[in-house]
């Protein structure tokens, strides 16, 4: 079990900055995020887009903002549970919250800060009948450990960077048979990856099927996956493989948090804006894009402000008898937990 002062759900910019503000008050944090890397939307949706409204930065790329935040919070050595999503929450009789992820990792803390943005990034699933029967049983939407698939016949679907990158990765390993199926002729990916894929398919190293789409899935008598593929203007064809990776990107969904007994309004968590961004459950706060109140602005900078206010309240929640006074970093500097 992981024990800390504040469990932060969501490792986007606001979740990351919460670690800093909490650290100034000597509160330790542990971040949980469904994505395998920190940064949330900034890392997953628009890493290479500039942001123009971070005070002090006339322009900063989203991925650079994440890197700067990671550097800023390093002295406070936060813990991370990445690639897992917070599934359930329970409050014990001593007032501690127990947050368990979909992988069964348990986290315990007196305070929970939900900085979940638009929700858990979940894979977009293609409309294929009976698909769920094959999930984690031949079909994977996220590839965590590619070595598991050595010497396998692999089919990848998708036209974005992740589909192409994995198709190239497996092809270059020379230990797989790789087929990339894409619904159109144009890719939404880096030009050099697209060029490589075309080169590899011309050399016969991998098979490229354009204007094609998997329509049905079943398993044959040899336990191979049998994909029924529709190619525009042609008859459907069947492809046998060991593994199929439909990589159509991720889309955020509020997910299990919606069932935690929190007051939800317009797909966001209602908080007390006038006070401390507390939710209707004592000890649980919601900050950043995931919360709502009158006049709410979904801006990173507003999330940063909410984080600063929220940790002051979290401190009082954890140490009701201690008095805290706001310290200025310019006066005191940053003292991490390791020093």
């Amino acid at each position: 079990m992981i024990q800390t002062d504040i469990i932060i759900i969501g490792a986007g910019p606001v979740g990351l900055f919460t670690v800093f503000e909490a650290g100034l008050l000597k509160l330790k944090c542990h971040l949980i995020d469904a994505l395998p890397q920190p940064g949330g939307q900034c890392a997953e949706i628009y890493p290479k887009k500039p942001i123009y409204d971070i005070p002090g930065y006339p322009s900063i790329l989203a991925k650079d903002l994440v890197e700067k935040l990671l550097e800023q919070i390093k002295p406070f050595s936060p813990g991370y549970t990445l690639g897992e999503s917070a599934e359930t929450i329970k409050k014990d009789d001593k007032g501690f919250f127990h947050v368990t992820t979909n992988k069964g990792t348990i986290h315990k803390a007196p305070v929970v800060a939900i900085a979940g943005g638009l929700g858990v990034f979940t894979p977009r699933k293609p409309p294929v009948l009976n698909l769920s029967e094959f999930e984690d049983n031949g079909v994977n939407y996220i590839i965590k450990d590619p070595s598991v698939f050595e010497n396998k016949e692999i089919v990848i679907s998708g036209g974005g960077d992740s589909a192409l990158d994995w198709a190239l990765y497996f092809t270059e390993k020379r230990k797989h048979s790789v087929t990339l199926i894409h619904r159109s002729e144009s890719f939404r990916a880096h030009n050099d990856s697209v060029q490589k894929a075309i080169d590899y398919s011309q050399k016969g190293w991998m098979k490229l099927m354009l204007n094609a789409e998997v329509k049905e899935i079943n398993r044959d008598e040899n336990q191979k996956l049998n994909l029924n593929v529709n190619i525009k203007g042609n008859e459907n064809t069947n492809i046998k493989c060991d593994n199929w990776f439909p990589l159509f990107g991720l889309t955020p969904k509020l997910g299990p948090i919606a069932n935690w007994g929190l007051e939800i309004e317009k797909n966001a968590i209602k908080v007390n804006n006038a006070k401390d961004y507390s939710t209707n459950i004592d000890g649980i706060y919601a900050i950043g894009d995931v919360n709502t109140y009158e006049g709410k602005l979904k801006l990173i900078l507003c999330g940063f402000h909410e984080a600063a206010i929220m940790v002051q309240s979290a401190f009082k929640h954890i140490y009701p008898n201690k008095n805290n006074v706001l310290k200025y970093t310019t006066v005191t500097g940053i003292t991490g937990f390791d020093k």
Binding site: L118, G159, R188
Partner: protein, 107 residues
């Protein structure tokens, strides 16, 4: 000079909404839908980097051409049709007066 246009929106239950939108505020259709609390997400904020504001254009308006990003994004949507657009890429302008759109199914 007109500074407000009318847009008709058919929601996912088939219900028709008559919206009015200003053309002098640099708004796009996705934003107008959100202002009117119609259920589009606009996850990426309007960068044509997601398809959560996907709509079908029902009226026969001549619209600004799709960018490469918009086409590529729409092609990844399961529900793409010939009249598909990302509403974030349609800027409110006089050209859009009387536009009728239908919300595409949720992703």
């Amino acid at each position: 000079m007109i500074n407000e246009i009318n847009i008709k929106v058919i929601d996912r239950n088939g219900e028709l909404h008559n919206l009015k939108g200003p053309i002098d505020m640099n708004l796009n259709v996705m934003e107008l839908l959100k202002i009117n609390e119609l259920p589009v997400e606009g996850t990426c904020g309007g960068m044509a980097m997601c398809a959560s504001c996907h709509v079908y254009v029902v009226s026969d308006h001549i619209l600004p051409e799709k960018t490469f990003d918009e086409i590529a994004m729409l092609e990844e949507s399961w529900d793409m049709q010939d009249n598909s657009r990302l509403s974030c890429q349609l800027k409110l302008s006089e050209q859009l007066e009387g536009l009728t759109i239908q919300l595409a199914p949720e992703q």
